[in-house]
Amino acid sequence: MGFEFSVITESLPALFEGAKLTWFITIIGIVGGMICGILAGLGRIAGTEALGEEPHGIFKSISVVIRYVSGGYVETIRGTPIIVQAMFLYFAFPMLVKAVTDIERFRIEALTAAVITIVFNAGAYIAEIVRGSVISVNKGLLEAGMSLGISRFQLIVHVIGPIAFRRMIPPLGNQFIISLKDTSLFIVIGVGELTRQGQEIMASNFRALEIWLTVAVMYLIMTTVLAMSLRQIERKMKIF
């Protein structure tokens, strides 16, 4: 039973279908994760000096609530395995809905559960990347902005944002690649992504070497594309 190249060519169409699904989940995960991450990351430092100056009155109380909610989200997601989150959302959450409401036949599609899981999971880690980059911005630059009389929103968009974003790119590259690879865990809820496709072909022809080698190379190609696009963005941003 030597290395059969034809095994690879025969399995390619199915593996491509899997890779397409992996890519689809990853892209939505990255885009959604960025939105969640920016909101939660800024939320964790709402009302602190990292975003200008401390608010007073009612805004002070509101920012405390925002900090706790964001912190709770980040710690809950970071503190539980992604595979448990996916299983909870797919298997347990419908039962929870059934238990507390009258809805009898509530269920979540496996792909929907996968997408939601990856979005919220990536979001929690990206939140910490955002927070870390924002608090690293030199406080003197915030003071320079504030002393011109601009609003907090303008300060965040025009001063803190661009400076922090450039520092986010390397750790974001890490997180995007991790999220892509994490999609392989959705095999447990039956999403037909790349790893699942490989597993199914393997189960019918037992050609482990050819199949897993091909699967590995396909992941490597996808992660390389991600890494290279981030390098490209990094290069395009002004050097400072």
């Binding site: 011109l148 601009i150 400072f240």
Partner: protein
């Protein structure tokens, strides 16, 4: 002449440490006030309180009709009228020289891009940097960066300019170019200026009033030459002795 800045019985504490004790100070429109004093005397804190980068702990601050603490919500109004130049320049590193200067007019004063850039160009020319408008801060010398920072502060057309040790981070050969720009602003535009500095020559030449601070209090104040020639307190005599030797 009316007062544009008034501090009445102002105290400022950081935690348990009180760094300004019962400061009373009035500054008139067009006046150039130079603040000197040893390190830790509260001079930087004093001017940072004026544009509310530090919020006063007690007392009252009035800047161009805005009263603090009653009108805390109008801090931005104060900052539009009170520009600041920092020891470390603090230029926005991702913007060119003209981008830095045009930023205030465009965002804080909500002018169109062309109008803001015209103002910026004019100011860069005034500080002698017309040929450097497309340089990033990292490509400029310290003295050039500080001159861009002065142009940036001027660009929102404030009534008051605060200078927080503007030449202390500069190499000696660059101090002159920055002081020259400051002198020309003081003489030509009639701008109200509050300058924290160790440059006694500057104080003597353009200062209307010299304030000596020590340990969070205003110890002596008056015409710069008189204060420098006839220091009354031992602390000022001691301080002037140290400054003159450098």
């Amino acid at each position: 002449m009316s007062n544009i800045i008034e501090l009445k019985n102002v105290c400022k504490s950081f935690g348990d440490t009180e760094v300004l004790h019962n400061i009373d100070l009035s500054i008139q429109e067009g006046e150039v006030v130079v603040v000197i004093g040893p390190s830790g005397s509260g001079k930087s804190t004093l001017i940072r309180c004026i544009n509310c980068l530090e919020m006063i702990s007690s007392g009252e601050l009035v800047v161009d009709t805005v009263r603090i603490p009653e009108e805390r919500g109008r801090v931005r109004q104060i900052r539009l009228e009170v520009g600041m130049v920092f020891q470390q320049f603090n230029l926005f590193p991702h913007m060119t020289a003209i981008g830095n200067v045009a930023f205030g007019p465009a965002k804080a004063r909500k002018m169109g891009k062309t109008k803001a850039e015209n103002i910026a160009r004019e100011l860069l020319d005034r500080v002698g940097l017309a040929d450097f408008e497309n340089k990033l801060p990292g490509q400029l010398s310290g003295g050039q960066q500080q001159r861009v920072a002065i142009a940036r502060a001027l660009a929102v057309s404030p009534k008051v300019l605060l200078f927080d040790e503007p030449t202390s981070a500069l190499d000696p050969e660059m101090i002159g170019e920055v002081l020259d720009v400051m002198k020309s602003i003081a003489k030509d535009s009639g701008m109200t200026m509050v300058v924290v500095t160790h440059e006694m020559g500057f104080a003597a030449q353009v200062g209307d009033r010299l304030i000596f601070m020590d340990d969070g209090r205003i110890v002596e104040a008056g015409k710069p030459e008189e204060v420098m020639k006839n220091p009354k307190s031992e602390r000022l005599k001691d301080f002037l002795g140290h400054v003159k030797h450098h």
